[in-house]
């Protein structure tokens, strides 16, 4: 009936299950840091991230039953970053070469380097540090977490689209805050926003919650933002959660807040319901009786990349997997309205970034009109020509 087969088309034989499924163990290596958080709603759950990986394991196994593949997760928690190398080596000894990592940058690099000789393939589902995709990039680390510059660019595109071009930038005093501040400064310059003033909010320590409550805060934030030159929006860089959540409704001038509070760029939000996302949100909350976080999504995405690669290539060998994921045939559907692919120059996953107000998704970047010759997703973050990464 079919007359001709086109050249180059892979003939997929029909797939039916037989005998014993092929088992693939995926490691999940993370360091759990206790975090107080200014808002009770934002205290990270105990199983933050790993829960997302678990849901993806189930998804992979539903698919796997048609392909005779089975996946399981082996969770390893470490207390100190310096233990990461040993933990990665221990996983390798047990024959686990695919590992989802939610580690601080130094720990991630230590694990990656320790696993080089054993063909370890790491999926960074936690660290957003630019340097991991730039000067410190590694050929055995794929990043599903977005970078600070991707987050900052996503926010900047929207603010510029809104014509909120005059920013009052407030940066926290911790190193991570400073790095986010750098990314926001870069984004402002790239997309034509102007910093009318920059302020540093010194974190003098102290408890996140007190019996005296917010009485002082409403005065403190008001005077802190008093006397600024005319501006459209406060942009706050506060990854340490010391002050940004105190800004909305308390600025001297009535202005919206964005960045670490107010309108927040993120890879996922519990309110995201477009493009079939409700299905994943419901699967997740059914299993874990809580909402799905960005960290959960980044881990889900990593495990789904492994599953997708395994079903396409019929292999879970790290080298074959990396080749497939870097190649032109890999696309992932992850409820973001378009395909996700890997930047082959630094192994960063291209992805739209959601802009959430904590209750709803306000918008999704890249914004209309920000064009790119390869992919509009590459308007977010450091692009190939500017990249310092040389994969080895």
């Amino acid at each position: 009936m079919i007359r001709r087969l086109s050249a180059g088309i892979v003939l997929l034989a029909s797939i039916s299950a037989s005998a014993q499924p092929v088992e693939t163990k995926i490691g999940y290596l993370h360091r759990v840091e206790p975090k107080a958080g200014l808002s009770l709603l934002q205290v990270p759950p105990e199983n933050n991230g790993v829960a997302g990986a678990q849901v993806a394991i189930n998804d992979n196994n539903t698919t796997g039953k048609f392909l005779n593949q089975h996946f399981s997760l082996e969770e390893v928690r470490i207390d100190e970053s310096k233990d990461a190398a040993a933990a990665a080596a221990a996983l390798a000894e047990r024959g686990i070469s695919l590992v989802i990592a939610d580690l601080p940058a130094d720990g991630l690099l230590a694990a990656a380097d320790a696993g080089k000789s054993t063909n370890l393939l790491l999926f960074n589902a936690g660290a957003i540090d630019e340097r991991l995709r730039e000067e410190d990039c590694r050929a055995n680390v794929i990043h599903t977490a977005p970078t600070r510059s991707m987050l900052a660019d996503a926010l900047a595109q929207y603010l510029v689209w809104k014509q909120w071009r005059r920013w009052l930038l407030i940066v926290g005093s911790h190193p991570a805050d400073q790095l986010y501040g750098d990314a926001l400064r870069r984004a402002a310059k790239r997309f034509g926003a102007r910093l009318v003033q920059e302020k540093v909010f010194e974190d003098t320590g102290g408890a996140r919650r007190t019996d005296s409550g917010v009485v002082q805060i409403q005065r403190q934030m008001s005077t802190f933002t008093q006397g600024a030159p005319a501006y459209d929006v406060v942009v706050a860089a506060d990854e340490s959660e010391a002050f940004a959540l105190y800004l909305p409704y308390r600025t001297w001038d009535p202005r919206p807040v964005a960045g670490s509070a107010g309108l927040v760029p993120t890879s996922w939000d519990a309110s995201h319901d477009q493009w079939g996302a409700v299905q994943l949100q419901e699967r997740f909350s059914k299993q874990f009786a809580r909402r799905m976080t960005a960290r959960d999504m980044q881990a889900w995405t990593a495990v789904r990349m492994i599953g997708e690669s395994a079903s396409r290539t019929r292999s879970t060998e790290p080298k074959a997997m990396l080749d497939f994921l870097k190649g032109p045939d890999f696309t992932l559907a992850a409820f973001k309205g378009q395909r996700l692919t890997l930047r082959d120059w630094n192994l960063q996953l291209r992805q739209p970034i959601l802009l959430s107000d904590g209750r709803m998704i306000v918008s999704v970047s890249p914004q209309e009109g920000f064009l790119h010759q390869v992919s509009e997703l590459d308007t977010l973050g450091v692009d190939r020509p500017e990249s310092k990464c040389r994969l080895k």
Partner: protein, 322 residues
């Protein structure tokens, strides 16, 4: 074809109904309504209120009922085509989206997105009579013309599952590109076309061999590949021409049914989802999700001849046989 409407709207409808006009029913996902379109005048003549989030829509084989999946109400509503009122609901299982009837119109197969399940319903008794476990997020539903093979596509598993309708067992699984959304057989049963939304392709599958024999890709100058997302499919009865809705590319691709080459792209409304032919195959109606309208394509000249405003976020369309 174009009837004069000199005597006011009421008379127009009457004239239309007496002639060869068909009736198209469009599900509006956001406004929870169905727009009823007279295909003679290509105008909305009535709007029916239905349940929450209506998407998949079909007419029963006898033409007596409209079936519409109202996903957020976890049911399929039956609407009497004479009175245009909801008269019953079917036990579809949770979050129904697309469904298909057997050739006799006695059995309904429903994809339950949230449950990794295809539910089988006896339409006369209006009771569920079985279920088949499939991949993650089942969506597209196709039935071989002889009714023997049901095909379901699962959006996160990325497969077309071939189900024997007699035994209700999966007999084959075929991997396709990311997020498969729709499955359509040629009338002679020789080919199955499966669209992949995120992959942006249509896989042409040999249903006997369970093998992908061709992947149809789409390239539109000036559009990024991410914007080209294949969704709804329509194939003419003679199998010679296929139409593929390309979602946010705002176009319908016209595909040669024999060579599988893309012949033409027709600009329709924004985010085009699904489509239906008039029974005489003179016209093809497409639902354009974001622009809240329906485009009418002249199948012979391959031109978009009219746009009809409907409700908010139109999704599916079904057209009566008379």
């Amino acid at each position: 074809m174009w009837r004069g409407c000199l005597f006011g709207t009421g008379l127009c409808i009457l004239l239309g109904a007496q002639a060869s006009a068909f009736t198209a029913y469009v599900s509006n996902e956001k406004s929870n309504t169905i727009s009823v379109i007279d295909t003679d005048k290509f105008a909305v003549v009535k709007t029916i209120k239905v349940g929450q989030r209506p998407r998949g829509i079909e007419l029963t084989r006898d033409g007596k009922f409209i079936l519409v999946a109202v996903g957020d109400d976890d049911t399929i509503q039956m609407i009497d085509t004479a009175s245009l009122e909801v008269i019953a609901t079917l036990p579809s299982g949770p979050d129904p989206e697309l469904f298909i009837q057997d050739p006799a119109g006695k059995i309904l197969y429903v994809a339950n997105e949230n449950d990794n399940t295809v539910t089988i319903i006896d339409m006369e008794q209006r009771v569920p009579v079985g279920a088949v476990q499939v991949g993650v997020e089942p969506e597209g539903m196709g039935l071989s013309p002889d009714g023997k093979i049901l095909v379901n596509t699962s959006e996160t598993t990325n497969m077309a599952h071939f189900i024997d309708t007699a035994t209700r067992q999966i007999v084959a699984n075929v991997l396709v590109d990311a997020r498969p959304r729709f499955a359509e057989f040629k009338r002679d049963g020789s080919e199955l076309w499966v669209s992949s939304e995120i992959g942006g392709t249509v896989s042409v599958i040999d249903p006997a061999k369970h093998a992908v024999i061709k992947k149809i890709a789409f390239e539109i100058p000036g559009l990024r590949k991410e914007a080209i997302q294949a969704v709804g499919i329509g194939i003419t009865r003679d199998g010679k021409t296929g139409f593929v809705a390309l979602g946010p590319a705002n176009r319908i691709a016209v595909v040669d049914g024999t060579t599988h080459e893309v012949k033409k792209y027709l600009l329709v409304g924004q985010r085009v989802w699904h489509m239906a032919f008039t029974p005489d195959e003179k016209y093809l109606l497409t639902t354009n999700g974001v622009s809240n309208d329906v485009s009418v394509i002249d199948v012979t000249s391959l031109k978009v001849i009219k746009t009809i405003q409907v409700g908010e976020l139109p999704w599916g369309v079904a057209i009566s046989q008379q």
